[in-house]
């Protein structure tokens, strides 16, 4: 029992780190732009597909990761310029509608282009180590570390680069930022591209664990939404903590119920959060 518990702890942290990567893109986009990106799961899915195609062409997993991130980031920028920029200044609810339409288009495009059969991404290396009675793949630990590294990179970017400072200023006060000469519309496009690229990277990283199909984004976008609410909307650190917290509770729950039912546990966490602390579990109490 203790062994299973420890294995589920490791599983929970690994999945939690990928979830954190998906959710931090979503949080970034929401926090700065007030855009609820329904298409985030589809960007994740497209990233995985671009990864599949590049991997088939070049044979290099790391190149596939890079290409997928860049291609989907460019796609994200294009989506932002054509559909979201015209909505600047309108009710944020409009952005839900538009991104819902985008997710419809992208999902059907993937179904048409790649067919309904799931594709496989091979792990870049196949080593195992012994974890009690299991042979645990090294790759899973590498994903967790890599996700952490990408998130740390995002944090450094936000903290120290010129663009990062502009982004944080725009989050605090968009109007004043614009008045100070920060190119806000271009900045928003860049933020959306970064969020899209992060979603794509997590799609490629997670691909080897489940296989790639056109509907894989749905589960993730829902979980990421739960994380974003539980962690406190627009709060980067909170959403990382919430990702790990929720993945761990789901892992522990799957000791007793089937994995498809374990997701109900995260729904319950969400309901309790809304009841007790609607502003999010991982935000400091306002004074």
């Amino acid at each position: 029992m203790l062994e299973e518990f420890l294995i589920q702890t490791i599983n929970g942290i690994v999945v939690g780190m990928i979830l954190a990567l998906v959710a931090s893109g979503l949080t970034l986009i929401f926090g700065i732009m007030d855009v609820v990106n329904f298409a985030h799961g589809e960007l994740f899915m497209l990233g995985a597909y671009v990864g599949v195609v590049t991997l088939a062409g070049t044979g290099s997993f790391w190149l596939a990761l890079l290409v997928a991130t860049l291609v989907v980031a460019a796609l994200g920028a294009a989506i932002h310029v054509t559909t979201l920029r015209p909505l600047l200044g309108r009710d944020p609810l409009n952005t839900i509608l538009v991104t819902f339409g985008i997710s419809l288009v992208l999902q059907n495009y993937a179904l048409w282009q790649f067919g309904p059969v799931a594709r496989k991404i091979n792990e870049p290396f196949t080593g195992h180590f012994n974890l009690f009675y299991l042979e645990y793949p090294w790759y899973r630990l590498v994903i967790a570390l890599l996700s952490a590294a990408i998130i740390a990179g995002l944090w450094l970017f936000l903290k120290y680069s010129t663009y990062g400072v502009w982004i944080r200023a725009t989050t605090q006060d968009r109007l004043m930022a614009q008045a100070m000469g920060i190119p806000v519309p271009r900045l928003l496009t860049i933020v959306f591209a970064i969020g899209s690229g992060m979603a794509a990277a997590s799609g490629v990283l997670f691909g080897p664990l489940v296989g790639v199909n056109h509907a894989m984004g749905l589960d993730w976008v829902l979980k990421a939404f739960i994380v974003v609410v539980v962690g406190g909307m627009g709060n980067l650190v909170g959403s990382i903590a919430a990702s790990i917290f929720i993945s761990l509770t789901e892992s522990y729950a799957s000791l007793w119920v089937s994995p498809s039912q374990a997701i109900i546990v995260s729904f319950v966490v969400l309901i309790l959060t809304l009841l007790i602390r609607p502003t999010g579990l991982f935000v400091p109490t306002p004074k």
Partner: protein, 335 residues
């Protein structure tokens, strides 16, 4: 509002209703069923207009109410002999109202986007429960049952034909429209609209805003459940796909396409969406066959998913026509 305008409204109402009553006579079987479906989806969209158009809350969870209506009807039709239409309606409405009360209690604590996301996640909770509770719900396969007869015990019993089912659905949808119209024009409806315009001020005047919102969500859920019951009777099955949040998204699309805050707009939106979908799903195979006659081989064209152009049209409507197709008539329709 002048008496003359009221007269014009009711004359237009009577003319359109009369047209809808006689319309199936000129149509083959397929299009009669299609009209019935438009009315049912229109009712679902109309139910969510109470929230989107009148209270200013966008619900992405209407599939839960719709689906529970379906499964409630299924429960009645599978457990009682002979299957009774009225019990199906009763069970479906009770199921939908119970779920609506539960969802309303939690989700109305939040506003705007947060409300939308919460309703979406609630509908997914019910989706997972229905999907995994195979013993009671049939799991992924859903439940199939036979269609009840239109009967009043001791008086008469008529098996539904496509035509009589259409008229029955038309009667229910028309009745629902009149009830919803009455609700939106009542003092209660006025408070909902003032919540939409300025929630803080409504609260400051002294209205218990949360309570009004809970009741609004429950009304909305009740009519969505009614649509679910009708859909179950029309298609003789209940399936978890209809609880999935994509159905809620489609209800929102119908609203936006038709024009929110008009009640009939969502029905027009549903009609436009379903007709476009039908047309586009035939267009691409047709184009492919024309191309191949001219010696052009365009691989994949016949299977091109019609949801791509449909999604693009929807995005364009949100950006360029936020009032929807009937937006120009919004004031008239609420008089």
């Amino acid at each position: 509002m002048t008496a003359r305008r009221t007269r014009i409204f009711w004359m237009a109402f009577a003319v359109i209703l009369a047209l809808l009553i006689v319309m199936p006579f000129g149509l083959p079987e397929f299009w009669r069923r299609f009209l019935t479906e438009i009315l049912i989806w229109g009712l679902l969209a109309m139910s969510s207009d109470i929230l989107i158009g009148y209270t200013g809350m966008v619900s992405f969870g209407h599939s839960a109410f719709f689906g529970l209506g379906m499964y409630g009807a299924a429960a009645a039709l599978l457990t009682t002999r002979p299957p009774s239409l009225w019990l199906a309606l009763l069970y479906g409405l009770i199921a939908a109202a119970t779920v609506a009360a539960f969802v309303a209690y939690f989700s109305t604590r939040l506003r705007d986007i947060y409300f939308a996301i919460t309703t979406l996640i609630f509908s997914q909770i019910f989706y997972v429960i229905i999907f995994t509770w195979t013993d009671a719900t049939g799991g992924e396969n859903g439940l199939a049952f036979s269609r009840p007869a239109l009967a009043i015990p001791g008086l008469f019993s008529l098996p539904f034909t496509t035509l009589t089912l259409y008229w029955f659905v038309l009667a229910v949808v028309t009745g629902s429209y009149l009830v919803l119209r009455r609700i939106t024009r009542s003092p209660f409806g006025m408070v909902l609209q003032s919540i939409r315009e300025n929630e803080a001020r409504t609260r400051a005047i002294g209205y218990p805003v949360e309570r009004y919102k809970i009741v609004a969500v429950m009304f909305s859920g009740l009519f969505a459940g009614l649509a679910g019951v009708l859909y179950a009777i029309q298609n003789r099955f209940a399936a978890p796909d209809f609880v999935f949040f994509v159905v809620s998204g489609e209800a929102v699309i119908y609203n936006i396409m038709g024009g929110v805050g008009t009640l009939v707009g969502p029905i027009v939106g549903a009609a436009a969406f379903l007709l476009l979908r039908e047309g586009l799903s035939r267009l691409f195979p047709y184009l492919a066959s024309v191309a191949s006659q001219h010696g052009l081989a365009l691989p994949g064209l016949a299977e091109f998913p019609y949801l791509i152009p449909l999604g693009i049209i929807f995005i364009a409507i949100v950006i360029f026509m936020p009032q929807g197709l009937l937006g120009f008539a919004r004031r008239r329709l609420n008089e």
